[in-house]
């Protein structure tokens, strides 16, 4: 049996697009972090699907790297979020203007 690669690529595109949409619409920093995870999951799914299609394991290696990057991102991101919350007592993105000129 051959898996439906085109459907899986569409699912991957959907995951990435929904994550992007959430990144634009949501204001909570934690939810933004989760939207980034969604986009990473979409990219990984496309990699695995094409890996299966070409019977090539390079996509698997790249997915492992993506998972490691996601772990690093979560560690640093949650550290930043915690220190921001200690400072401002909120996670609402519209209340932060540290970098605004």
């Amino acid at each position: 049996m051959t898996p439906p690669i085109d459907f899986l690529v569409w699912v991957a595109c959907g995951l990435f697009g929904i994550g992007l949409l959430g990144l634009a619409v949501r204001r909570n920093l934690l939810v933004l972090l989760m939207c980034v995870e969604l986009m990473l999951a979409g990219a990984s799914l496309a990699l695995i699907a094409y890996s299966r299609m070409w019977a090539d394991q390079d996509g698997h290696i790249l997915t492992l790297v993506v998972i490691a990057v996601a772990a690093a991102e979560a560690a640093v991101g949650l550290g930043i979020i915690l220190s921001l919350f200690r400072q401002k007592d909120t996670l609402d993105l519209s209340r932060f203007r540290l970098l605004r000129h």
Partner: protein, 174 residues
């Protein structure tokens, strides 16, 4: 088996929509867990056995638990979604639709759907390890350096003294 692939794909999309649309971060986190588990099941059905296990252990077992722990640590209020679904949401929707159309134009002429015959140890620990430690060993070492940097960064963030209260006079109070 193909039925399960469709099922898990649709479940992943539903979880993603739930992640973006739910009002409280803990609901978002739970929907994201559902999405990541569905994606892991899809990996398993695509013969990526090791990656499916790693996805469940690292993503769901470590990263999501860390995020949920942070949510429980912070006292968060539910967010007012309505006020944001105006101009920004419309712009994001237009960009998203344009992006999907461009992907569709690109995918339309490509020969997708015809899967190749798999080698014996495809996606197993043995197969992945052979490739990871010979061909991609530099990648592996660089990922180690990246994780070391992330650990040092998280440590520096956690142990430094808190910044003095912001004295920005332009900041308006709510």
């Amino acid at each position: 088996m193909t039925v399960f692939l469709y099922l898990f794909g649709i479940l992943a999309l539903a979880g993603a929509i739930g992640t973006v649309l739910s009002r409280h971060p803990i609901t978002s986190a739970m929907c994201l867990v559902a999405t990541l588990l569905s994606v892991a099941s899809t990996y398993a059905l695509l013969e990526a056995h090791l990656i499916a296990a790693v996805q469940i252990i690292v993503y769901v077992g470590a990263i999501m638990v860390l995020i949920i722990y942070t949510i429980l640590l912070l006292d968060l209020r539910t967010e007012d979604l309505q006020s944001r679904l105006g101009l920004t949401g419309a712009t994001a929707l237009v960009v998203g639709v344009a992006w999907l159309v461009s992907v569709w134009l690109r995918l339309d002429g490509m020969a997708v759907g015809e899967a190749a015959v798999l080698p014996e140890d495809f996606g197993t620990v043995k197969g992945i390890a052979r490739q990871l430690y010979t061909e991609h060993v530099l990648t592996f070492e660089l990922v180690g350096v990246l994780l070391l940097g992330a650990v040092i960064g998280a440590l520096a963030l956690a142990t430094r003294k808190p910044l003095p209260a912001p004295t920005d006079v332009r900041e308006e109070q709510p």
